[in-house]
């Protein structure tokens, strides 16, 4: 018998799910978990119904209300988003008719899909997980093959429990060493995208590895994988280890007893073999990375928080140069300007990138005993109702409120502007979200992406601020 060829983690995950090969590069893959949310899931469900098709495995499909639900404490189906109620009700009605599990607005398990899927043990190592949401790659942090799809593909999964997928190339990115004080997974991502560009991953499936990644807590790994789509990756995955297994044990949808033991034995095989080859490899020294902030309208427009706005003249590619000039105009910044001199109007802490308990703890560490600068609107939206309850049990909500932050119910909230709540044109926001695109948080709104520590420090300072002096020690 021939020896088992060496394989990457990605290849193992892929191979495990091949139902049949459709052509030399496309496989029909089994999908183990489908998640839907009201924004893009609603159309998949109604389209499926219009086509007269049913759901093949309702027990493997889950829905949440996160994208356009109101995040004020006394919320109901009404949302500031115009037409929003139709999205909510269409999703709820279809979920009921098809018998899908729905985490509805008043369900204690409700929250952002990529926060609650791990929290409830719905995503598991080695599983294929899809959702019509680009940040589904977040869940690769648990060793799942998880990626974002369109609504038509969600319909395909509902009807067939499979997807037709062209196999991407693979790329391993290692981070080595202990990051500096006040440097988070968000900073590693922004640094990577800033260095390699927003198209840097070129559709490859990433594996994050190296000593830095091994020492990151699971929530930080989720942040790292979350930002992979901003790097143009097909998805990202991290080999599951005890950090993941300890996190999952006892979660509501995770296996138990003998089944857990069987699963665990399988999960321990989910790693890249020593001799396995990737199409691309890169390795970076994480000790050299500072806290980062974006200055422009792409996540690749990132610099150290103690750095300066770059000059477009230094860029030889005319498309890139014009993009930088356009971004400077939109952001109201000048080349050479210090980032930590730039005054801010608002701070938003939340989103599938940075709204988990450790994110809120880090921000609270900065905020404790301090006040938000006069005139700065500061909002914290926990990623799930579970995160909210856990934070409140530790008294984090009081730290946020005492500092002058709004403390909200779970949802995507101000991560994007859907015509309801938003910031005013030309307002400058430091945000722990993932996209600083033109208009993303409101028409003309200027978004600076950063970590929860940097966002909190900026709220206190009233300008973009280096979090390190605020964190002490």
């Amino acid at each position: 018998m021939p020896a088992t060829p060496t394989a990457t983690l990605f290849a193992k995950l892929w191979r495990q799910h091949v139902v049949t090969e459709l052509d030399e590069q496309t496989s029909l893959l089994h999908i183990d978990r489908l998640f839907l949310h009201e924004r893009t899931g609603s159309i998949a469900l109604s389209s499926l119904e219009q086509d007269g098709r049913g759901v093949r495995h309702p027990e493997l499909a889950f829905c949440t209300m996160d994208h356009i639900v109101d995040t004020s404490p006394e919320r109901g189906d009404d949302t500031p988003v115009p037409g929003g109620k139709e999205f909510i009700r269409t999703t709820r009605d279809a979920a009921r008719r098809f018998g899908l599990t729905l985490f509805d607005i008043h369900d204690p398990r409700q929250g952002i899909v990529h926060v609650i899927s791990p929290e409830l043990g719905i995503v598991l190592p080695g599983a294929t997980v899809v959702c019509p949401d680009s940040h589904t790659c977040t869940q690769g942090a648990l060793g799942a093959l998880a990626w974002g799809i369109g609504s038509s593909d969600a319909e395909h999964v509902l009807a067939t429990q499979t997807l037709r997928v062209a196999r991407p190339k693979t790329m391993r990115i290692r981070f080595e060493g202990t990051p500096g004080h006040g440097v988070t997974a968000k900073d590693l991502s922004l640094w990577l995208i800033g260095r390699e560009s927003a198209s840097g991953a070129g559709g490859h499936a990433l594996e994050f590895a190296g000593s830095t990644v091994r020492m990151l807590p699971l929530e930080a790994r989720m942040t790292l994988c979350n930002m992979a789509v901003e790097f143009s990756a097909f998805t990202a995955v991290i080999a599951p280890d005890d950090t993941v297994f300890e996190y999952l044990a006892g979660r509501p949808y995770a296996p138990t007893g003998a089944l857990w033991e069987r699963a665990l034995a399988h999960w321990r095989t989910l790693r890249t073999d020593d001799e396995a080859r990737f199409d691309r490899e890169a390795s970076f020294d994480a000790t050299l990375i500072p806290p980062m902030v974006t200055w422009g309208t792409s996540p690749q427009h990132a610099v150290g928080v103690d750095g300066r706005v770059p000059a477009p003249e230094g860029e030889h590619d005319p498309v890139v140069r014009r993009g930088m000039e356009r971004a400077l105009g939109y952001m109201g910044l000048r080349p050479g300007q210090r980032l930590d001199d730039v005054p801010v109007d608002a701070v938003f802490i939340g989103s599938c990138t940075n709204s988990r308990l450790p994110d809120l703890r880090l921000a609270a560490q900065v905020l404790r005993g301090r006040k938000v600068a006069p005139g700065v609107k500061a909002i914290c939206v926990p990623g799930s109702m579970q995160v909210k309850r856990d934070a409140e049990a530790e008294g984090l909500d009081r730290i946020f409120r005492d500092a002058g932050f709004e403390w909200r119910a779970a949802g995507c909230s101000l991560c994007f502007f859907a015509g309801g709540e938003g910031f005013a044109p030309q307002q400058r926001v430091v945000s722990t979200t993932n996209r600083n695109f033109e208009g993303r948080q409101g028409v003309g709104v200027r978004t600076h992406l950063a970590s929860p520590a940097t966002a909190a420090a900026s709220a206190i300072a009233g300008r973009i601020a280096d979090p390190r002096p605020f964190l002490g020690g």
Partner: protein, 204 residues
């Protein structure tokens, strides 16, 4: 084969929020989206739809464009298929860019919008000729022909090409593979029983 006017939108990282802002997704629907296409760039005042004459698709020469020329990573960002539905409804049949956001590219194939990958210098050459006449995109031969007759070869997956040429419904095709799916699941249930949750999880 498609022949049409190509509009140059030579920006990098044109994201799906720019193609169709979330504020333009007002109904649970795949139609009624074209007025919101590029809303943030196309209008001086979105509320009254006052066109910005500086935006390429508002210029008379490009008002009937059915092909877009763009910079790298076109369609990055949000997975919203509405971006493709809006482009299609507006009349765009092909987008030519050095690279595409992966989810967007897939959504294109699902909706009969052809994503053509060409090298950046080739797209710059095409962009200089947009006023000289229509471009021809030939999916059968996998070539783009410029008004000056130059042909640029592009690559596309065999299956993707077939889906676009035949306008096939992938769900119907996959349902024909039902036996394979059943066989896979029977085998997989033995190997990974923890994946298959009990039927009435909603009651948990």
């Amino acid at each position: 084969m498609h022949q049409g006017i190509a509009a140059p939108l030579m920006r990098a990282n044109v994201d799906t929020d720019a193609i169709i802002p979330s504020r333009e997704m007002k109904r649970v629907s795949k139609v009624g989206l074209s007025a919101g296409l590029f809303a943030g760039w196309r209008y001086l005042d979105e509320a009254v739809r006052a066109p910005d004459p500086a935006f390429v698709l508002n210029q008379p020469a490009y008002a009937k464009a059915s092909i877009l020329l763009a910079g790298p990573n076109f369609g990055c960002g949000s997975s919203r298929e509405h971006a493709v539905w809006a482009l299609r409804e507006f009349g765009i049949r092909a987008v030519i860019a050095p690279s595409f956001g992966a989810i967007f590219q897939n959504n294109c194939i699902r909706n009969g919008l052809l994503p053509v990958e060409l090298a950046e210098p080739a797209i710059h050459e095409l962009a200089t000729q947009t006023l000289d006449g229509p471009l021809t995109v030939d999916l059968l031969r996998c070539v783009v022909r410029a008004p000056d007759g130059t042909e640029y070869r592009f690559r596309i997956g065999h299956l993707q090409r077939e889906m676009l040429l035949e306008g096939l419904d992938p769900v119907a095709l996959t349902l024909r593979l039902d036996e394979s799916i059943r066989a896979f699941q029977a085998r997989d249930r033995e190997e990974r029983p923890w994946i298959y949750l009990p039927i009435h999880t909603a009651a948990r």
